[in-house]
């Protein structure tokens, strides 16, 4: 890497690190998301227990698979909350005017900040998920180091995509001041298409359509790699996640490029 590129990368690493340290300083803030995550895992463990009471398998998933699927699928969602609100709030309040003139790429900077914060936030959720999943569904179906490595990579890509899509939605605040409805709709589509339920549970047509959207890359990919690992399909899932991350990055750049033209700065 040339020294100019290294210097450029360092800016974003510093932003990520500062954001991670700021997040780690307020440990009490983790409590809310960890409690909510544990609550959902617990409630769904009961729903699945009831669903499997009369049958050993649904759409190729047994009770333990469904539960571990849910434990992993919810991690990117709970580990990435708040980024939409922060950026949309900065745009609505005009705070963004102070940030656009600084010597960094705005999208890269916001992504680095969000990623640093999410990496810290996701750790207690991972710990809680592993403990609670083990308690209600037995040990996780991890069979090899390769599977663990692909799972970690898939979770990182899912987190990155969650952040990028939230940033893209937040950037619509340049046009629509009250844009939280976009986030709700996006979150709920993501919940139905691969978070609450594996894609195999959906009716065939819906499942086929869902596979052409970014939603399976947000939750289905890492969860599927854990509960039904096979090297070929897992690598394909990772490839799709990387492609969606690239597409979301381009979308953010395009939205920011157009949106900043609507920014009007008055006085100082």
């Amino acid at each position: 890497m040339s020294s100019a590129a290294a210097l450029k990368a360092r800016k974003y690493l510093v932003a990520a690190s500062a954001s991670a340290r700021a997040r780690a300083a307020y440990r009490g803030d983790f409590l809310g998301s960890v409690i909510a995550y544990c609550l959902f895992v617990f409630v769904f463990s009961r729903v699945w227990r009831s669903a499997y009471a009369a049958r050993p398998s649904i759409a190729g998933y047994d009770y333990a698979m469904s539960l571990w699927y849910f434990v992993v699928a919810e991690i990117p969602y709970f580990g990435s909350s708040g980024h939409f609100r922060e950026l949309a709030g900065d745009i609505k309040s005009g705070q963004v005017a102070y940030l656009v003139a600084r010597p960094y790429g705005f999208v890269g900077y916001r992504f680095a900040q969000a990623a640093g914060s999410s990496l810290v936030a996701v750790l207690p959720i991972l710990g809680a998920g592993a403990a609670l999943g083990g308690l209600v569904a037995g040990p996780p179906p991890l069979g090899s180091a390769a599977q663990a490595a692909l799972l970690a990579a898939s979770l990182a890509l899912a987190l990155a995509l969650q952040i990028l899509l939230q940033l893209a939605l937040a950037l619509t605040a340049f046009w629509v001041e009250e844009n939280s409805a976009f986030l709700w709709i996006y979150q709920k589509l993501a919940l139905v298409a691969g978070t609450l339920l594996p894609l195999e549970f959906l009716p065939e047509t819906a499942s086929r359509i869902a596979r052409w959207t970014p939603f399976p890359a947000l939750a289905y990919a890492p969860a599927r790699i854990l509960v039904a690992f096979a090297p070929g399909p897992s690598l394909r899932l990772l490839g799709a996640q990387a492609a969606w991350c690239a597409a979301a990055w381009i979308l953010c750049l395009a939205l920011y490029g157009r949106g900043r033209r609507r920014l009007v700065s008055q006085g100082g």
Binding site: G32, A36, L39, F40, V47, V176, N179, A181, W184, K188
Partner: protein, 269 residues
């Protein structure tokens, strides 16, 4: 005495009507945003109908609930939750208002501070929740004036229980300082347990649904009353709601004794 109580009740009804009207006018000032949030919230709720539809199609029923039962529960809880936040929009900001020392402006006004602070705001997206329940009800078979009236009464009772429980959770801020995480957790627990069939949970934890997390009086008993068209349960449920509201009010009054003014100048326009 009787006249005085009636007079006070009329004065509070007028006050609540005026508060509601002012809140509604303020949100309608941004009409496009209002409609976007209302329809966004309705779509948001509809996503869960899809989830339950798929799951029940695969399993035939969960915890004794059919798809129609799930939809009635969602309708009841959604309308009750929406109504609580439409009328008492500060019900989940009370703790922050107290922590910031911003209660002064309400304490200095002639109306009761509890009612005044809770009803001085409306939550825009809650209108979507409120309407969603009625939309679901209209889509379910067997709609009649009687069912609509019973549904409205049960949802109003649920709204009182929601408001009382959320306000009580917010009042913890008087005693614990910043209790945002705890009150948010109580909020999540109450809402989540209300939206899933009672029988999926262990019998040992069901006592909580009729005490500290009153999902039983928001969802489970109202569902049974609605299915059986049991009008006799309505006054009993309202008595229970009144007891929760009284407990919440008592907690607020006890908390007020620990409240320290922020010495802030404030106006309500």
């Amino acid at each position: 005495m009787d006249l005085s109580i009636r007079g006070r009740a009329r004065a509070y009804a007028t006050f609540l009507g005026a508060s509601f009207s002012a809140n509604l006018k303020s949100v309608l000032e941004y009409r496009a945003n209002f409609l976007l949030q209302v329809f966004g919230m309705m779509l948001n709720n509809a996503a869960f109908a899809l989830f339950w539809g798929i799951l029940i199609d695969r399993t035939g029923g969960i915890g004794g609930y059919s798809f129609e039962d799930v939809m009635v529960v969602w309708a009841l809880v959604s309308t009750a939750f929406g109504l609580a936040h439409v009328v008492a929009g500060n019900v989940r900001s009370l703790g922050d208002i107290a922590v910031r020392g911003e209660l002064d402006v309400y304490l200095l006004q002639p109306k009761d501070a509890f009612v005044n602070v809770l009803c001085s705001r409306t939550v825009v997206s809650a209108w979507g929740d409120f309407l969603y329940g009625y939309l679901v009800l209209c889509l379910l078979p067997g709609l009649s004036a009687g069912r609509l009236l019973l549904f409205s009464l049960l949802a109003a009772e649920g709204a009182l229980v929601f408001a009382a429980a959320f306000a009580a959770a917010e009042c913890l801020a008087f005693f614990l300082g910043n209790s945002r995480s705890l009150s948010e957790a109580l909020h999540e627990f109450l809402l989540s347990f209300s939206l899933y069939p009672e029988k999926v949970f262990d019998p040992g934890m069901r006592w909580a649904f009729y005490t500290i997390l009153p999902s039983g009086f928001i969802a489970f008993v109202p569902l049974a009353a609605f299915k059986a068209m049991d009008w006799g349960l309505v006054p009993i449920l309202f008595l229970v709601a009144a007891a929760y509201m009284a407990a919440s009010y008592a907690l607020f009054r006890a908390g007020l004794r620990r409240y320290e003014s922020g010495n802030q100048m404030g106006t309500r326009l």
